[in-house]
Amino acid sequence: MSGTSEGWVGTEFHRKEDHRLTTGRGRFLADLVVPGMVHIVFRRSDHAHARIARIDVSAAKAMPGVIAVVTGDDIKDEILPMPQPVVQPALPANYPRHWPLAVGRVKWHGEPVAAVVARDPYIAEDAAETIEVEYDPLPYVGDPESALADGATIIHEGWEDNVIFQMDFTGGADADSQKAHEAEVQKVFDGADIVIKERFTCHRCGVTPMETRGALFDWDESDGMTGWLTTQRPHIDRLALSDILDIPAEKLRIIAPRDQGGGFGVKAPFYREPMLIAYLARKLGRPIRWIESRQEHLMAVSQERDQIHDLEVAASKDGTLLAIRDRGLADCGDGCEGVYWGFLMPFLGAVELPNAYHWPIGDIKVKVAITNKSALSPARAFGELPTRFAMERAIDMVARRCGMEPADVRRKNLVAELPYTSITNEYFDSGDFIKVWDNLMAEADLPGFRARQAAARAEGRYLGIGFGLGVELSGVASELFVPMENQPGYGAATVRLDPRGKVLVFEGDAPGGQGHETTVAQAVAHSFGIHPNDIIVTTGDTGTTPFGSGTVGARAGSYFVSAAVQACEVLKEKIARIMAHDLELADAAPADFSFADGFVTYEKDTNIKKTFREAVERIIMAPINLPAGESGGLEHTAFFEAEKPMIAFNADVCTVEVDIETGQFKILSWTTSEDVGQIINPQIVEGQMQGAIVQGLSNTMFEEFVYDENGQQLTADFETYKLATAADVPDIKVTHAPTPCPYTPLGSRGIGEGRPSDVPGTLCNAICDALEPFGIEITELPLRPDSLWRQIQAARGAS
């Protein structure tokens, strides 16, 4: 353990969470037990699209140990259907009506059809198996293009087509302005030296966490409902449940377990299952626990990225980017998912398409179609992994056409001065992209690599180098969050001082491994000049924490930490005011007191000091002889909202060797350059980067949700939905070129959420660089040896 009481920010402090987690004393949802608890198991649809002709639950109901069996028909008049306002964005879209269990029709393979409550989960599964469901199959709509084709089967009852959402991001709100804008963009294309036009497709994949979802609800007539839920947004879940089940909000308390086995966005939506479980817990008067199986998880959630982009880029032959045109099309699945509705990801992906490049003009439109698959659910690199893949690949293609180094085209077109507003109206608050880029290039040694590459090629070996970069959101300001999710963007923290000089911090968001307990303890320790071990952080309990919209969009390092620090500052002023009063230092200002090494010291005469504990205890335990207008106690809740949305920035370089006989390749190195602003804990930051990049690699190379021609999901276990193992991935070298963020008290930025997004482009750029003699341009993910081999074969055959 290093660091001193003056310097907790920026020091490597080993995590407070780890002791319990390395000794088996973590408390995850599946570890929670309530007396009298029973278990629930879902029976899910075997069909992708069908009318439910008949459900017979009699055998299940008759089984010993079974407490209840319910179907959609049983609950549709007792639970209000979705959508409900708190989980409905303020964006114009079609919001499909749905209940927790399918009513009338099933719309994807795996949709919940019935549920069994039993005293033992083994028995619940036995009973669920006996439920007989008769289906009348309906035509399967399996991709967005056929969903939008004339005469397509319309999936949601009462809809006119299968469009859930569409938007023009650049042309204004009305048809005339859009037309005019299109023409203006076309003019640039007409006059450009170089035009690249490609279809880029990204497959369905996501960031499935190691812990699946789960819920435990307990109803009590006097206290109301207590629900433990795997969630990133307990406060939102609480409001949504209150609406749907018609339970007054004050009778609902949602607790995200202190330990959650990863979230990455997957635990951010308001899902169907908890609605039903909460309803049943009240109706049956028994605590009910649900632990999602991996199979359910891979069928129902974690599916993201499913986008197609017809992208055009206009450039001049010196590599200057002139214009961009994109027609995005996303496969939403059924869209029945509170908060995100399957379309918010492609929406944000389009916003982020321009990336950190300066585009004088652009024409960007997106359409999102309902299909018979599970709804897209968020995953880290939210919506933007597909658009960034397209963009980073397109930049390399432009470079090749110009005969330039892709690295040079990137540097040339990077936004050089911040703040900056992109053509999709994304605001880049601060930072120095060029500095980050130049730091990367110093690491990359491009000339050295080109020499090694040439030597290898002479021996028939194919080495390649690839670059990529990305802007990521550092928290989401209310300005964007209110329209996007109908939720506030501020970060909130309550800081409560304990008479013994310890500090309790309460956060409404619910982390899942990001190390909030440590990071915030460091920031607060720094502020008060005490030790991080003197700080106890409580997260995710709506009964004790201030409102927070959730652990989403890398809010912690920016919003939550800032709120905690702001609260500390308010409390420090109070301590200073009262100390000045007590010591009769009439002209002392709060700023004259320093908080360090466990003391509060009057800087103008450092002999005048009190221990932090004395200073605090006096105000909490002896609130007499206070200055006029001052009250006892030390607790403050701060709501931090930055003036402007904030960003973080990164760039990557990787090198590869490709075996042209098999299409198999090896990643030789991966180096990053980051601007995360002021680092609070370097180890945690590096861990975020390592993890995020490996997730990006795993998405790119291994993971894919596959549906067959009838919509049967073929990849619902870890044998078929493959994740990268330790032996499949490189060690990542993380380097920093930081610019402190001027809008947060510590200069920190939130990081990590968007970090996987430039990984596929970077890797594919390296592969294409290696295969440059064959002229191969990868436009489709996943990147698999068999398809690469086929492309190499075709190129060799052609040459």
Binding site: Q295, E704, D728, R790
Partner: protein
């Protein structure tokens, strides 16, 4: 997720008791469990619903590797981890270690057995082609105490099919003695490290003066079950260890004669290419071992 109800668990101490337990149930209702690394997947998915589990862990004499004049005798309950660390299994038997060291992961290798792999004969499995490549003979014991032996290639049928009769237990796997200039090797490819083989190739050969005199080539990962590649075996005969073109031609013959399928991991053409590329690597290490070099994977 959870197994369907199971009535009984038994842990016999002898082969006779194991077979007697089997005999007490209707066909298919009682199953042997060895390492459980395949069976338990099927039981938890409720694809197999045994009424009785007959655990072979304590059956006397089913485990261990003996090296004798007759060659190798491997107990079916011998686990991958034991094979992987057995220093005697080089040269002619090198393929065994190659396969065992790369099955799944450490935990699977600590439990999974050679016999279980052969009796399950999963489409993507390492031991079936290895046993065929090494010319293994399997010894089966029936309820009446009688035994019969058959070549691995006759025992192993299409995926999940074997010639084992319902009332039989696999009691030994024997592999012929190592010739003086013999070497074997095995290698597979899967999308992630040590994954189930999309294609696995085993080659066992004898060489004189660096030239192949006889070879067996077996391929796994096939919808038709593990197979020998006869044309490749013929083509390898006479090929010198350093004759890359000759080896490539032999492996091309294997790729052409073997019918391959497409699935999530590779289409049928890529499977053929894997036979070629893995085959070339495997042949090289088999030649190396035949020449006394002990290069593992």
């Amino acid at each position: 997720m959870y197994p369907a109800p199971i009535d009984e668990y038994v842990r016999p101490a002898t082969v006779a008791d194991a077979l007697a337990a089997l005999g007490r149930y209707e066909e298919g209702d009682a199953v042997f469990i060895a390492g459980g690394q395949s069976l338990m997947q099927a039981v938890k998915a409720r694809l197999v619903r045994p009424r009785c589990l007959i655990d072979l862990q304590a059956v006397d004499g089913l485990s261990g590797i003996e090296v004798g004049a007759e060659g190798l005798r491997i107990g079916p309950m011998t686990r991958y981890a034991e094979i992987a660390r057995d220093a005697r299994l080089g040269g002619a038997w090198g393929a065994l270690g190659d396969a065992a060291r790369r099955v799944g992961d450490r935990q699977v290798r600590n439990r999974g057995t050679v016999g279980g792999s052969l009796c399950w004969n999963y489409v993507a499995a390492c031991m079936p082609p290895t046993a065929i490549g090494l010319g293994a003979t399997l010894e089966l014991t029936a309820a009446d105490g009688s035994t019969r032996s058959m070549a691995a290639e006759d025992f192993l049928g299409g995926p999940l099919e074997t010639a084992r009769e319902e009332n039989e237990i696999l009691t030994a796997i024997t592999i012929p003695p190592a010739g003086a200039n013999a070497g074997s090797a095995y290698k597979k490819w899967g999308l992630v490290t040590d994954a189930l083989p999309v294609i696995g190739v085993c080659i066992a050969l004898e060489a004189e003066g660096g030239r192949c005199t006889a070879a067996r080539v077996a391929v796994g990962g096939l919808a038709g079950g593990p197979q020998r590649a006869g044309a490749a075996e013929a083509a390898l005969a006479g090929v010198a260890a350093d004759d890359d073109a000759g080896i490539a031609a032999a492996m091309d013959a294997a790729a052409r004669e073997i019918e391959t399928q497409g699935d999530l991991w590779a289409d049928s053409d890529y499977r053929k290419q894997l036979i070629r590329s893995l085959g070339a690597d495997v042949a090289a290490s088999a030649f190396g071992r035949a020449a006394g070099e002990e290069a593992g994977q």
